[in-house]
């Protein structure tokens, strides 16, 4: 079963078209394993991206270097999934 330990979801706010383009470029980098929950479209829409633990450092560096505003929307994806499973098990007889 696929696990998501240490995966984080970042909410990124692009301030201009150039930053949108940068996000589109990084989304093409398959080796990072990024899963865009909300894709980079335009400045007015936030971008949510699920980042595997192994790519976090690279992605954070990329965002900092390019002066992106972002916050951590989900600190640890697996922790939420574990909670979800706990809730489901609780409802079973």
């Amino acid at each position: 079963k696929e696990t998501f330990e240490g995966h984080q979801v970042l909410r990124i706010t692009a301030k201009d078209e150039a930053q949108i383009t940068l996000l589109k470029e990084i989304s093409q980098q398959v080796h990072l394993g990024l899963d865009f929950w909300r894709e980079p479209i335009r400045e007015s829409l936030p971008v949510d991206v699920c980042v595997p633990f192994n790519s976090l450092q690279a992605v954070r560096a990329f965002l900092a270097y390019n002066h992106f505003e972002y916050c951590v929307m989900i600190e640890d994806v697996q922790a939420l999934l574990d909670e979800e499973q706990r809730q489901m098990l609780k409802s079973r007889p």
Binding site: M73, I74, E84, M88, K90, S91, P93
Partner: protein, 309 residues
């Protein structure tokens, strides 16, 4: 195991077997109002079950589907709640009763059962179908890019590894083809609502072109009304508009196809999250999400009933 749909836990997520059992229970309890029809089989051979709520023969129809993207769990959970809401309210709520006395409602709770099962067993974040792609190690097609309206356009990906891969041909996915065949054979659907999550939007055609739909003004006003209703419950922030102007160009999407089949009231929803959990919406938000969405669905269904075409 809940023995009746009254005992069912609507405020929790459930696996495919439990949802299918729920559907059977609902049909058994309300056989005068609900029946189950199987419109096809998924790639992995699972039945594509649709609940038909009907009070008479030869009614025009209203279609609602949830869960075409398997990881959007709040949609399947909301679909379960809608089903129970319909049987609860028929005969009690005069508006719903009037709708059902004149229209059938078709509800497909798990539109992509292979993907949904996969989210429970292997990868919670799975979105697409589960059909292998010859020549690629990547599996699955985005069933919301697989429809025969502007199929393969730039608002979809030709890369099988992409989340928006459009598939080898229009309607290549049995989960999509089954709905296509059903819509065509029914021939008298008047509204079609396809429910996704998340980002809180109500969208209407088109996704593939900036050319406004010929009914854009009416669709826009109805969207405004539906969202006003939705927001009246918990003040959840929603935006609305055509797909291409509100989000992005998307080719081969469900409601563009249904609209071009002549189903004027074609809408697609993006339900909650409000920006903290994304696809991992906590179970305690299922019922509030379903409740508020139901108000919007009712607005669209009532308008459909009051504006025959």
């Amino acid at each position: 195991i809940p023995r009746t749909t009254d005992e069912f836990d609507y405020s929790n997520y459930h696996d495919l077997n439990t949802i299918y059992s729920f559907m059977d229970m609902l049909v058994a309890e309300h056989s005068d109002l609900v029946s189950k029809i199987v419109i096809g089989q998924s790639y992995e051979g699972r039945p594509l079950n649709v609940l038909k709520f009907s009070t008479g023969a030869n009614h025009p129809g209203i279609w609602i589907d949830t869960g075409i993207h398997s990881r959007e769990w709040v949609t399947q959970a909301s679909g379960i709640w809608f089903a129970k809401k319909i049987v609860n309210d028929y005969g009690r709520d005069p508006i719903l009763t009037d709708i059902l006395n004149n229209y059938d409602i078709f509800l497909e709770i798990v539109t992509n059962p292979d993907g949904f099962d996969y989210t429970h067993t292997s990868d919670r974040m799975w979105r697409k179908t589960r059909k292998p792609n010859p020549g690629s190690s990547c599996v699955g097609v985005d069933p919301n890019r697989n429809w025969d309206t502007s199929f393969g356009g730039p608002g979809a990906s030709s890369n099988p590894c992409s989340q928006t891969y459009h598939g080898p041909s229009a309607h290549s996915e049995p989960e999509v083809k089954a709905i296509v065949d059903f819509v065509k054979s029914h021939g008298n659907l008047k509204a079609f609502m396809s429910i996704h999550s998340y980002s809180q939007m109500l969208l209407y055609p088109y996704g593939y072109t900036h050319t406004p739909a010929k009914d854009q003004a009416e669709l826009h006003e109805l969207a405004r009304k539906a969202i006003t209703e939705l927001q009246s419950l918990y003040n959840t922030g929603y935006t609305f508009g055509s797909i291409i102007t509100t989000i992005y160009q998307a080719d081969g999407v469900t409601v563009d196809w249904t609209y071009e089949q002549g189903i004027k009231y074609s809408y697609t929803f993006e339900l909650r999250d409000t920006g903290r959990h994304g696809f991992l919406l906590p179970a305690n938000q299922i019922i509030p999400t379903a409740e508020e969405t139901w108000l919007a669905l009712m607005a669209i269904m009532e308008h459909t009933k009051n504006n025959p075409y």
